[in-house]
Symmetry: C2
Subunit: 339 residues, 2 copies
């Protein structure tokens, strides 16, 4: 008699993929200039400043997991997706290094950001090196140019999303120039969704998937990214700082055009909101007004719509073995976290 095994939880899937990818990721980083490799290792949580080994929190490894699951969805062994996983983790690390400079964020995962400890110039350089390494790794795969094209397209979208996000801060809160929810969606898809979609599609391509399957995974990852960003916005306004690691109301004080704020600004009764935004003392008042004017509800409804769209794409795609189940659980895990 065979016991029926429960499917692995999302955390177990993430851990399995991290274990699979780690040796190749470490080997790749070791090819860098030692100083640059140290900055990369620090950002991955592998070492302290100076190079002493550490076990600081790295990321959850969502992108590498999507790449491994993408390969499995194509019917290949997850190992086929490892070069894609390494490339997308390198690109993710590169984008975090540069984003923290752009946004002036002094901390990342509860440690000083790389630019804070190594300096802005070195952090710029380390990011460039990680990007170049990711491209080199993909160019060396059998899928070569096709794989590189997927990554460079995602990168172009990521930069476009980041540029829009930086420019949103310069836009007025009302009138025809204000940021629309549609612009937000496009920004979030670029900034967060493009690399998630690319991760799954790249893994699939390396696993031998046909183009429609890779495209479905790409689109599902993009929807997941938008949903993730929306949940992030909600957590930033109403989440538990002990869990999120971010100060409550930080986005409001910085006058960030998050989705809940944009949705609330569309309400005729939110006329007082613009003057509350950016005020360090009145962040709690602003959050209450955003909630009262439906900003939280709207953001969560929008997140659910994007999760549903991602699910529908995955359900229609011909995914092999248990990969669909793993992908669904990962999706739920990412979108339902701490809400």
């Amino acid at each position: 008699m065979t016991a029926v095994q429960a499917p692995p939880s999302a955390s177990e899937v993430l851990a399995r993929c991290r274990d699979l990818v780690r040796p190749a990721l470490r080997e790749a980083v070791e090819r860098l200039h030692p100083w640059v490799a140290e900055m990369a290792g620090y950002s991955f949580g592998w070492c302290e400043v100076g190079g002493a080994p550490a076990a600081a929190p790295g990321g959850k490894g969502v992108r590498q997991a999507l790449a491994v699951l993408g390969a499995e969805a194509a019917g290949a062994d997850g190992r086929a997706g490892v070069p894609a996983a390494v490339a997308v983790e390198l690109v993710h690390a590169f984008s975090l290094l540069h984003d923290d400079i752009m946004d002036g964020d002094p901390t990342r995962r509860r440690r000083p950001a790389v630019w804070k400890v190594y300096g802005t110039g070195p952090a710029v350089l380390a990011g460039d090196a990680l990007f170049a390494l990711a491209v080199e790794i993909l160019a060396a795969t059998p899928q070569g140019a096709g794989a590189v094209r997927l990554l460079s397209t995602a990168l172009a979208d990521l930069v476009r999303g980041q540029a829009d996000d930086l420019l949103f801060a310069t836009r007025p809160c009302s009138g025809p120039e204000r940021v629309t929810p549609e612009e937000y969606r496009s920004m979030a898809e670029g900034k967060t969704g493009a690399l998630l979609g690319c991760a799954a599609a790249l893994g699939a391509v390396l696993g031998g998937a046909d183009e429609p399957t890779a495209r479905a995974l790409d689109r599902a990852g993009r929807h997941l990214g938008v949903a993730f960003q929306l949940v992030d916005d909600v957590l930033g306004l109403w989440g538990d700082p002990a869990v999120t690691g971010k100060p409550v109301g930080g986005d409001l004080r910085e006058r960030k055009m998050t989705y809940p704020v944009l949705a609330a600004l569309g309400s005729p009764r939110a006329g007082g909101l613009p003057e509350l935004l950016g005020s360090p003392e009145r962040a709690a008042e602003a959050a209450a007004l955003v909630e009262a004017e439906g900003g939280r509800t709207a953001a969560l409804a929008e997140a659910r719509a994007h999760t549903a769209a991602a699910r529908a794409l995955l359900a229609r795609a011909p995914l092999a073995g248990d990969s669909a189940g793993d992908l669904f659980r990962l999706l739920d895990h990412l979108v339902d976290r701490e809400l």
Copy 2:
């Protein structure tokens, strides 16, 4: 009766290549996010801040010329090298944007650097976008992954050279930890030579060259880069600021480990040099001591050796048509400038 035409001068070759590449380069930049495209256009000298057209000095276009001549050296029409030319100019622009941040240089080609006018974050982002675009363009060529590999290898060397250059400033002037001329050569080959070599080799590959020819062009370009950097060092210490656009002695005041300084530090009579370096008032005295201790002579001799090595590589390679002559004149033009 046919008149015998004098071969085109290096300036004419550069102008011909710029004219050939410009439309494709402009078209590529227009694909970027408008804000990012403006920063790129500003850095190319095409527009002012705000986007108004300008005709500010761009670069000479050495890299795009090498790519076009590389294609011609392979027996192809120069147009075959245009995607390579566009990619290397984009990467060069990206590296200048980021280098100016790393080095804290407030001006570039007699205008405020991009980071000075648009901010550090936006300049980082624009550089990233240019890099991604370059990769995308090469991945779309028939040579695809092979072309991307050449570029990413050059990029890795460029980052390594830049990292070494940044770290040289932290090294002592004497003792076993001091920077050696061999370390300088490796730094200059990475920082300046890798992209010049890549430009010529990429153009050749796109023109259908075999691997030994592409490799010879790559190595010649790397020697050219070292020679170029050595001449740059000499001009920085003894050049005419009206011609170089740089303040005389700037490198000495910044305690930069240039080749003339490294060579002079090797002399037993240069014991007083370390204390002169970094002193804003004593730059002229330092330059005189570097010259007296053979720093200038050594740097120029080293530059000549690298030029000769580049010439020998080009002379041995089977280069088609007039391309060898154009390459030789370009080489002389770059190394003999204003000395």
